[in-house]
């Protein structure tokens, strides 16, 4: 179980950390082979994964965003979700809107609105992995006043890290892409995850990029309020300058 690895990786944290982001489906693995199996691994927000995360929040003194397989038992649906949790409770749940590839076989597409959660001085929005390729996701979070996009991922394509530079630039938001490393082989599936987790600044600067092949914890200091000024010069405000009446949305 990945709980132990996360515990070990984070036990050395000395700094004053406000927000920790873990990968998509960090505790279950990714290569599900059936709905039945996915359902067995799925939990609701009173499950052991959330308890583990709350305990970790307590140890570190931070808020955590992490991916988990979520079950809605009432409706018998499973979602590829992310939770934002503090030591007391789940502050928010995001259900992945854009499922990637065979995830569509094992999860239902997200049915909750994109949302931004205010935690202390931070406004945090969540998206998951393949959501990066839909510019509407980060844009929606920016329009909801997100300072930081917490972005758990299990990326197998090579494009996302560079694309997050564009996402942050175009929205003037920070993003924390926490990606998986290594390989997972099950059945016909052979996933090689691209690692290189990345913290990207509102101005497109890559503040930290992890190696491709090893799990690490990186601590980056930001001033999230830098994301609130959308002006890039005297005349251009990236949000106020939009021309929504000229955009097609369907």
């Amino acid at each position: 179980m990945n709980f132990r690895q996360v515990r070990e990786l984070t036990k050395g944290i000395q700094d004053d950390v406000a927000l920790l982001v873990l990968p998509e489906l960090f505790a279950t693995g990714y290569a599900f082979q059936s709905i039945k199996e996915t359902k067995m691994m799925a939990e609701d927000i009173s499950g052991e994964t959330i308890h583990f995360l709350q305990d970790l929040c307590r140890s570190i003194g931070c808020v955590i965003c992490a991916g988990f397989a979520e079950i809605d038992r009432d409706r018998d649906q499973i979602y590829n979700s992310a939770v934002l949790v503090d030591e007391h409770e789940a502050l928010g749940v995001y259900r992945k809107l854009h499922l990637f590839n065979k995830e569509t076989l094992y999860f239902s597409p997200g049915n909750l609105p994109l949302a931004v959660h205010t935690i202390g001085g931070m406004k945090v929005g969540m998206m998951i992995c393949f959501d990066w390729i839909y510019p509407e996701v980060a844009r929606t979070l920016a329009l909801l006043d997100a300072d930081i996009i917490a972005h758990p991922a299990n990326l197998v394509l090579p494009y996302c890290q560079d694309a997050m530079i564009t996402r942050c630039l175009e929205n003037h938001v920070f993003a924390i892409t926490a990606n998986r490393v290594g390989r997972e082989t099950r059945g016909m599936d052979n996933f090689i995850f691209t690692g290189q987790s990345q913290v990207t600044s509102f101005d497109g600067t890559v503040l930290a990029r992890a190696p491709a092949g090893a799990p690490v914890v990186k601590i980056v200091e930001i001033n999230q309020k830098d994301a609130r000024n959308k002006k890039i010069n005297e005349f251009n405000d990236l949000i106020a300058g939009r021309r929504p009446s000229m955009y097609r949305t369907r």
Copy 2:
């Protein structure tokens, strides 16, 4: 006048060229100092710049997209525009929706809908320079079934060329960013243009990137129909997979 330079650069073209893209405001320069001056340089689509382009279309046997300062004499407005022209007529005009920096002092913001023009087998949409930072522009053109985004530019920021990889990937369209090179100093303005004009494939491949400092003509062969298949795997169609009801647009 830049007419001569364009004529010289293009006279060696031997290949069968379908579409030529020239930079933003290619004939007038960029560093306007007053509305009066901008108005003096502005033309309508019966002006000499369009005539020059039509003549060039005839010489090369192609369609051209190029930027020009457009005047609407009836309404006394000047736009930073791009025209798509063949040897007979202007096929379409695009007026820049998102003016950059001091352009806002000398031009009116575009008031025409984004549009896609079918020319032979190609579906061509236009956007200009700073429009790149608004993902809604390329997205709108993709939703209008553009195969190719013709993108005249006078870029002074260093981000666009890499961002165009994201724009093409997220929409599965081709883009031709025709950027200016060199420096223009007038009054308080000192612009250094970043060159590196770029042809980007629907799959994010950079098919050609020009040098930063020298004007060149590059010829790239593409199959524009590659842009019509939005599926990146068995389960993901980048356009059909959108979740518009979940996106905020204002």
